[in-house]
């Protein structure tokens, strides 16, 4: 299929001219509309980098599994009998059917519904019915399920890469790591539990429109006016109003590039300046549980706990699909060039009074219902607008030339909160993966 740019972005032999398509302060709209580029992304970005698949607390016991996607590849993320977490390709080694067709559960074995081939929870092929017809040399061990050879676990966050040349996960996380630590350590004993269901949305847009927005400190006073209005209707300065009281760049908030395409928008300097609990939007049961907690553990002891019932004030974006936002783990799942699922996993904390987790459930629901819904409408509007092939460019030049970015140790770059540093940073990582040499490798089963 010919690219809509009239061929300008596509070089000889069908290769893309990445230097034309991805420039310092803008990218080509084909990146959002061309199904061939999307297909390439699903292999190279969602294979070549470290992709977040799930949290180990979702599969606490042996044989517990959840169904996930690595790009478009169906994956069963499962804990084996040996306790090890594996990412198995949900694809029968025979004719390609999925061997697991439920979203989550516990399974010692998976039997393909098509011809009955059976695999254990480590991916080993256990039996092939009437195998004598495959001849004497048939070895079912060669029919083990495909599996990601690199599974990384950072404090419960499980990532997968098919790229033998990718750096170690801990190095890949770069300067995102101490921020992820901060987020996890808001739990008094550092234990975040991801077993509280999820809010899932389908948005008719390219996945990068969701990602673009994740580090965008420019849009809140405009895109989230409806949320800011309801926040203010009963008085008081509530969540996020600090974006709309003056020029956002004059606040203490900032945007950062953290390396490897990861970025950060920090709302803490405003949201948590005095007390995020005091300024939180009025959530269901707020007064009931605040009273109950103060009675239970004492008025003063309750204060720091109520603070962790509020959002973290962080937008930590780990390229390409993990958005740690507020108290949720938000995952971007591409479905097609113009179709994306956004999943917000609810989290509870270990070792806090029940009141805190109850408040957190209602807090976590709030932004997806009242904020993300308007974002999504705008993402869909972008996708519609990008249908104009003659208008090629998507701009991300804010603060590119104002000299306000500060480079610090470790390559972290800090800019004003409305800086487009997020898009500039992640598109550098994107371009490297899309244009570089890449050899993806898949293993089989758990046997050596």
């Amino acid at each position: 299929m010919a690219p809509d740019s009239g061929g300008k972005g596509r070089g000889q032999g069908g290769d893309y001219d990445w230097d034309y398509l991805v420039q310092a302060e803008r990218v080509h709209r084909d990146l959002y509309t061309d199904p061939d580029i999307f297909a390439l992304e699903m292999r190279r970005i969602y294979g070549g980098s470290w992709v977040y698949l799930g949290h180990e607390s979702e599969i606490p016991g042996p044989h517990d599994f959840v169904s996930r996607r690595l790009g478009l590849r169906p994956i069963v993320l499962i804990r084996g009998k040996d306790g090890e977490v594996r990412a198995l390709f949900n694809r029968c080694t025979h004719r390609g059917a999925t061997i697991c067709r439920t979203e989550q559960g516990k399974a010692e074995f998976f039997t393909c519904a098509y011809h009955g081939w059976t695999f254990d929870s480590s991916g080993n092929c256990l039996s092939v019915p009437f195998a004598e017809a495959y001849g004497d040399k048939f070895d079912r061990r060669e029919k083990d399920l495909g599996r990601a050879l690199r599974v990384g676990n950072y404090r419960g966050f499980v990532f997968v890469s098919l790229n033998p040349a990718a750096p170690a996960l801990i190095d890949y996380l770069a300067a995102a790591r101490p921020l992820l630590d901060y987020w996890i350590d808001r739990a008094p004993t550092g234990k975040v539990i991801v077993r509280s269901a999820a809010q899932r949305y389908i948005v008719r847009c390219n996945w990068k429109l969701v990602y673009d927005n994740a580090g965008d400190g420019y849009h809140p006073p405009f895109s989230h006016q409806s949320l800011l209005t309801i926040g203010a209707r009963l008085g008081g300065a509530r969540d996020m109003t600090y974006f709309a009281t003056g020029h956002p760049d004059d606040t203490g908030m900032y945007a950062q590039s953290l390396g490897n395409g990861h970025t950060f928008v920090d709302q803490r300097p405003e949201m948590h300046a005095v007390s995020a609990w005091r300024r939180q939007r009025l959530q269901p049961g707020r007064e009931a549980y605040e009273d109950q907690l103060r009675r239970k553990i004492g008025a003063e002891a309750a204060d720091p706990l109520l603070e962790i019932a509020t959002g973290s004030g962080m937008n930590l974006n780990i390229f390409p699909n993990l958005l740690v936002i507020g108290n949720q783990i938000q995952v971007v799942e591409p479905l097609a060039v113009d179709r994306t699922q956004i999943t917000w996993y609810g989290t509870t904390l270990a070792d806090v009074p029940d009141e805190i987790n109850t408040l957190r459930m209602r807090t976590q629901e709030d932004f997806p219902i009242f904020g993300e819904i308007d974002d999504s409408a705008n993402f869909e509007a972008c996708q519609v607008g990008m249908a104009v092939p003659e208008m090629e460019w998507i701009d991300f030049s804010r603060h590119a030339v104002t000299g306000k970015e500060i480079v610090s140790a470790g390559g972290v770059v800090t800019g004003p909160v409305t800086d487009d540093i997020h898009m500039r940073a992640y598109y550098r990582a994107w371009k490297e993966l899309m244009s570089g040499d890449l050899k993806l490798v898949v293993g089989g089963g758990s046997r050596p």
């Binding site: 809010q199 049961g285 709030d366 308007d374 409408a377």
Partner: protein, 198 residues
Amino acid sequence: MSATSLKRDPSRVSYYFDDPFYERMVRISKQLRAGPVGAEVDGATERAVARALYREARLIDDDRLEEWLGLFVPECAYWIPATLEAADPRRQVTIELHDRRRLEDRVVRLRTGTAASWAPPIRTRHSLSSLEIWKGDGECLLARANSIVQTFVLGHHRTLGGWCGYALLNLGGEWKIEIKQINLIDCDYGQENNSFCL
């Protein structure tokens, strides 16, 4: 309204959304799921409840949301679970769970004129069928109905299927909704723009 009652006005403060209320929601949710087991209601009551529920759906579809809010008792819940077996919402996020105050937020948001998800507004039409009404605990009535919501916006049609459960209380001779639970058949899969009231 006196100072004391203003302090407890559920449109402004949320004292009633406490552990006993959550426990009641969970208990009623189980009863709704199990279906009619309690005593039947008389024909006149059945007709009155049916009228109330059809009206509730109609006010949504006709964009009379301020009147729609009046069909709920002051201390109410609007609940769209995110799992097929609605679990205790104190330990699960939901697609939506609102107390009176946040339910009013939901309506006010659509009226701001600045919600991109409501520009243009989503057209809806609810169909209720297989209505069953029975007696719950105390003075409460329970009802459930299958629900199909046809929506349309910007050339895009959707059909949302599921069933609704209701707990109703009689306030001054009128049946009002205490809890509305909307159980979507795809609640654990991706939802699109559900800005409208379900």
